[in-house]
Symmetry: D2
Subunit: 348 residues, 4 copies
């Protein structure tokens, strides 16, 4: 059994990770850490675990965890892992970081967008970006994995094949994203109160959301040229789910047919268990992936405007956070990639 530790277990992503690991046949959670709730019983805070987990939460003691665990997951605010990790810890355990600390290759970009000083710039190069379907081989061998953001996973996977194949015009990409409220975390803030979120939709962080440079980094690589794009997140009155609606013009001489687009998606994702390319004309919906690690992708080729509308849906806490972390852990420990992640999405 793999011994796992979680830093930040009582956030939504941390708790989802615990949920997935508790059903995982090859993992035992030996250290559930929490800064705010240390010493309390986890199942007193998340009562869905009542009678299923009887442990008290421990401190977020990264050094001890590295010694006692085979893998440490950090579901923490940005800056935590880079400021607390050491070379010794990395020798003792593998690390999977759900924060942004090691996602951005360019130190300056990270420090600008996050307004933080990076605590361990020397480790950036070693870290592997954990978008599983794109970096599967690198992931198998790493000991420091930067698990991607929720918006990022959805955006990149939706756009990647058409960037890689040179179909999209990199100067024209616009991503309009919609997220459930669990993405805003469990902190007690007025804007996240029920009555403030319910019966409302709003854009936020327009032009400034921190997932932007992460998307740009990966799509620049795919397009093989630097690009900037618009990314606009919206808050939706629902618990889970992200829907990305992306718009782009094409570089091709003739506007591509739906069949061409579909065949490109199938080329990249046809063998992927967790990416489901929908039949042409079917739009992905967040309800069909809730509670699962799937990403559903659909598209429309609009001849009138000569633009492609590309859509992706995932569960922000699973494929957008904890599920992808488990998927990556499976690879890092030589297990079947889908282990513990094969349940049917929950509907309604």
């Amino acid at each position: 059994m793999i011994k796992a530790g979680i830093v930040g277990t009582t956030g939504y992503a941390g708790a989802e990770l615990f949920r997935l690991l508790l059903s995982h046949p090859e993992v035992e959670v030996v250290w559930a850490g929490s800064k705010s709730y240390e010493g309390q019983k986890f199942s007193d805070i998340y009562r869905n675990f009542y009678a299923l987990s009887e442990e008290n939460l421990k401190a977020d003691d990264l050094g001890e965890m590295a010694k006692k665990c085979d893998v440490v997951f950090t579901a923490t605010p940005q800056g935590y892992l880079s400021k607390n990790i050491s070379g010794d810890m990395l020798k003792a355990a593998k690390f999977i970081d759900l924060s942004a600390d090691f996602r951005i290759r360019d130190l300056e970009v990270y420090e600008n967008w996050y307004q933080l000083t990076h605590g361990a710039p020397e480790l950036i190069e070693e870290a592997v970006y954990g978008l599983t379907e794109l970096y599967r081989e690198e992931i198998r061998g790493t000991r420091l994995l930067a698990n991607p953001g929720c918006y990022t996973t959805c955006s990149i996977l939706t756009l990647y094949p058409l960037c890689k194949e040179g179909i999209l015009d990199p100067k024209t990409i616009i991503i309009d994203a919609k997220s459930g409220t669990s993405g805003a975390g469990r902190g007690a803030k007025t804007p996240n109160l029920y009555c403030e979120v319910n019966e409302n939709v709003k854009a936020y962080g327009v032009g400034t959301h921190r997932h932007t440079p992460e998307i740009e980094q990966e799509l620049s690589i795919a397009c093989d040229e630097p690009l900037v794009l618009n990314f606009t997140p919206h808050l939706i009155p629902m618990n889970r789910g992200i829907l990305v609606t992306a718009y782009a013009g094409t570089k091709t001489e003739i506007f591509p047919s739906p069949e061409e687009i579909k065949s490109i998606y199938d080329k990249y994702y046809g063998e992927e268990y967790f990416i489901r390319v929908l039949p042409y004309g079917v739009c992905p919906e967040t309800r069909w992936v809730e509670g699962s690690n799937f990403v559903d992708i659909g598209f429309v080729a609009d001849e009138r405007t000569e633009r492609l509308i590309l859509m992706g849906a995932l569960d922000n806490l699973v494929k957008g956070a904890a599920g992808q972390a488990v998927q990556n852990m499976n690879l890092m420990f030589g297990l079947e990639e889908t282990m513990g992640l094969t349940g049917v999405p929950l509907f309604p």
Copy 2:
């Protein structure tokens, strides 16, 4: 592998059953039937099954299903199974009926409350009422199982131990229940539209809801005297979940202490995997059981009014329908009772 068939796969309970069976290690669904969607691909209707089930829906042909299946689940309107079942079918397969046809022991009570003529009164005696925790032994041996209603399961399990131990005064029982909207089914009716249900709470079927005689039947047995009670269901703007808040006076000379009540619950449910008796003062909430087969029970002993307030919460589609059906199937086929039902509830 057990070969299973489902009649009525495209209702919410039928689809939930399919979801659970697809992850069940000892079951193969060989016949997914549907009257309304025969010939269509199931995953075109429930896209959460996309890429997970590729089969087309078949007819609801009970006779053929009995021949081809080891067990047939009927997730159908009341009256269907009793009008279509035969002795030959019962010899060929085991039946688990999610409708009310074989739940009520007294034919007249059934026909009065349901305003239906029963199609197979001769089978009522043979049928076993599938409230697993109460009829475990009978369930193991039956070939015709009447799976309980959603409100019923929650109400009976919440009240049963205190009835059985002679604590509650049977003349004083009041059950105020709250249900998510999936309990109303997937039929296209104006009152179940999003805008009619959202931002609203209402009682319905006050004094006339059909789960009343089922609750009365089982609690009369537990109290060892005939009883009538108030049962008032309410519709809540959420997908899943039932919360029961029950009120009752006591027959005891001295009003019982919380410890006494707790010890009675523990006596009956201490060993039950799916029933979680909460610490005194903790109220059950539907979010903590969502997607799972658990029933959470809590209570308050109110000395001021000398009444007990007993509360239970479950997921109406799981323990209130499909999950309990699988739990019963497990027993009927000699499997581990919890098989395929051990996931942690999904929150948020």
Copy 3:
């Protein structure tokens, strides 16, 4: 024009009061106070007021407000008004208190349930309980009005006529109430976050909720004998609305017919603009009163159990708080009681 001041304008009740007063033809809000947001523009916090109110929030300076205003509304936590009011202020202005400070006649009951020392016990006798339909004449003449609680208004109005007429057995009253989340206030607390409230229903404060003694006080008067009762509030995933489902046995020799019950309601409420007694068998729903000062009342006389099920619905922020405060203000200033409160409820 009546000059009005509001203490606590930025809570949900305070803001609703501001909304109603802004449309009131005879009122001008000259002082909108706020402890937390003093100096900020109100419409920067409640952007529904953008371009409609350009004023900055002032301090909660009760003494100054009494001098500058004809009426001061306090939408504050319990204990505020009793600790800050003085005889001089009461000579200068009329006070309408939306907190519980002057609702409870019995000082000991107040201090026990609220765990507070009352700051002005000498004023309790003078204060008038502002359940308009019950105390209309007293309200006209008062200068210190105790505006009732939201659950309280709904519960009392639903039960009052049958108590007053001696129909209900006072020992049997059980009130099961369901409230939207705005009743929990705008404070940033984890349990009120969107993801904690959405897709959930729970009871809370079982046996201990502070509206209990207020309901008991008024129904004891109506029944003309002391009574205790069960009051169980539940939190519902919606913004506004309270539904009360009350259960009671009768004192009458013969169980009353629906016509008898209906005629009693009509006797008390037939002329009341804001109380709508529904046709027999129609259950009140919160959506039909949203945004309005109406209370809808319905009932079922259940012969089987010889109990009455009495139901009431209102908007907790309007008739349950700000609307009733305006209704009372209208009376206290000799205006038409319905002034500023006659809009059709907003649906959907």
Copy 4:
């Protein structure tokens, strides 16, 4: 008093119109028509009107209504008015059509997008497009008013000033819109059931939604050149509200500053009561306009991508339908434009 008739009173837009007209000081609804519910009491269907409207619904008899009414509102499916209107009726009464029949100037465009044969092409030229802020003068004089669509009103008002001033590059316009579910109407369809809409977000009608040509028509006029654009509507789990997030590049040599953009909005909308241009950086949210006739507009000028992100929010049933219809009626009858429409938006 203006005598008003409504065809299609029992749809969401028709009922909202009735609600607004009932509070309007200069209007009396003398004929509330309904095909499906003729002869029933309106307040039995919309119980928010209980005790406020006691009338039975009449037939949708357009001829009789024209005789008895000064103004007839048609809140009907597309095709109804064009097939039933006559010159005589138009002489007898003014018509305000909430459907699309007379919105599209180009007959062929209408017939292509709506797949209908137009019933009265000879009246298209006479009809005035009722986007009040753009066609105020024409509206005053017309007897046949084509009230704009909900998405359309929000989209056009958000983009119009920057089109008119030649800032936007017409080839680059992308509109990503999000709507509450009341926009889908009150028809009993499975996709609009509570459990299908709740906890979900999806795009629909991608590239084919019928509001597209209406937006293109008006923005082409504003840009003074023909244009096509992307319009993608999304369904949001809430009752009311539309949010438009629009993206466009510019034609200007230098990318415009926020101040320049703001001053253009102020030039066009500074005097408009119902259009509230928010301070720079503040994003509109649907909750701030709920229940009102306001449109809130905000924007971000993204220098990085040299694109403008323009956002608008309105209540789809008010400014997007019934409210704008009343605003137009006010003009057509020489009343104050804001009459009956000045309430503060309802929050929460």
